[in-house]
Subunit: 225 residues, 2 copies
């Protein structure tokens, strides 16, 4: 069930020179478990005792490394955000024509959110709490949102090539992409139940991904006169 915590006697910790005690591993382990718990049950619904129980260590360590429950949640959030930012930085759409680049970007976002439901749910939880933890974390605020730069360059290219219409704010465009991608994960439970439709199968996801891409591209494309 567990994959790699404390597997070997000579741990793979980067910082240390080899020690049977493994602070980094313990922190990682706690963060992983906490991410799942907070994503599953929300901040108030998650129990420190339960997180501790699912950990390889004890509750003591949570307070030792993360100060308190809120500190743990902030760390979990930071981890989640830095994950997507890291991937965004690797985006490279330079060789595609603007329309297809934009479509890829939208579909990439859609795929990422689908592949990381915990991230989506943590963002939901943070929004329920009015983003107070996000406010408290300089680390998250210092992470620059590289996807905006990519989006901006694609958009400019499209405009200068005459295929995109002018006057669109890329933040707004990103919001549209995010909204369409986010909803599919965030509201899956209620929406699929009310409309009696499947939103998780490979086919449904592929269909929806294409729709999201199409929606976004159509929004920026110049209408032929």
């Amino acid at each position: 069930m567990r994959t790699d915590d404390e597997a070997t006697d000579a741990p793979t910790v980067p910082g240390g020179l080899g020690r049977t005690q493994d602070p980094e591993g313990v922190k990682r382990n706690i963060l992983d478990v906490a991410t799942r718990e907070f994503a599953a049950k929300g901040f108030s619904g998650a129990r420190v005792d339960e997180i501790a129980a699912k950990t390889a260590t004890s509750k003591r360590m949570i307070y030792y490394y993360f100060r308190d429950k809120e500190g743990l949640f902030v760390a979990v959030l930071e981890e989640a955000y830095s994950g997507i930012r890291k991937i965004e930085r690797r985006l490279d759409l330079g060789d595609l024509p603007p329309g297809e680049a934009l479509r890829s970007l939208a579909e990439f976002t859609f795929d990422y959110q689908n592949a990381h439901p915990d991230f989506v749910r943590l963002v939901m939880v943070e929004n329920i709490h009015n983003a107070v933890h996000l406010e408290r974390s300089e680390r998250i605020q210092s992470l620059n949102v590289s996807v905006i730069d990519v989006l901006d360059s694609v958009y400019r290219r499209g405009v200068s090539e005459g295929v995109f219409r002018e006057g669109i704010d890329v933040i707004d465009l990103h919001m549209t992409i995010s909204a369409l991608s986010f909803f599919n994960v965030a509201n899956r439970a209620t929406f699929s139940k009310i409309f009696k439709c499947d939103m998780e199968s490979e086919e449904s996801l592929a269909r929806r991904r294409a729709q999201v891409g199409e929606t976004v591209v159509r929004y920026v494309l110049k209408t032929k006169a």
Copy 2:
């Protein structure tokens, strides 16, 4: 601060013939307070004692009428859903051309969600809990989603008039409208903080409303060849 609970000695209860005791009023009062609390703090974050304190009656009444905390939450959800369904039924777009009708429908949804953040947040909360309460409530499941019928008729009209392209699923279309509208309220806190933008002012809302309408219309419009 409070507007209309138990204002008069002869209460305004519909069912009764006038009684100093006012079961319907008490229920209403509890539901109103509980809606705000659950929407503000989530299911686990909301406290029964605090809900009771903000009520005109006592905690005892919550358990008397709603059995337990979950029962109260289900009732709150039912109330919230029946609210939007009631309004949907009043939608009438028969006299507008299909494109403008669709735009109105999208903008109407956008406006409704903005005007009812508690509804949006309750849906978020319910999704965090995997829609288990929604599952438990026959009343919600029996509420038919009339907006789909309206959307369907507009879409058919657009297709038969040759202005909309064929092959679009109206449920998918509704999902797009919902997603774009939902995000603006649901993710307002994190998004506005990360992108340092305002999402609540009248101007921002008007701009975004127009974008949402435009996005939806462009998705269904036939591309001119």
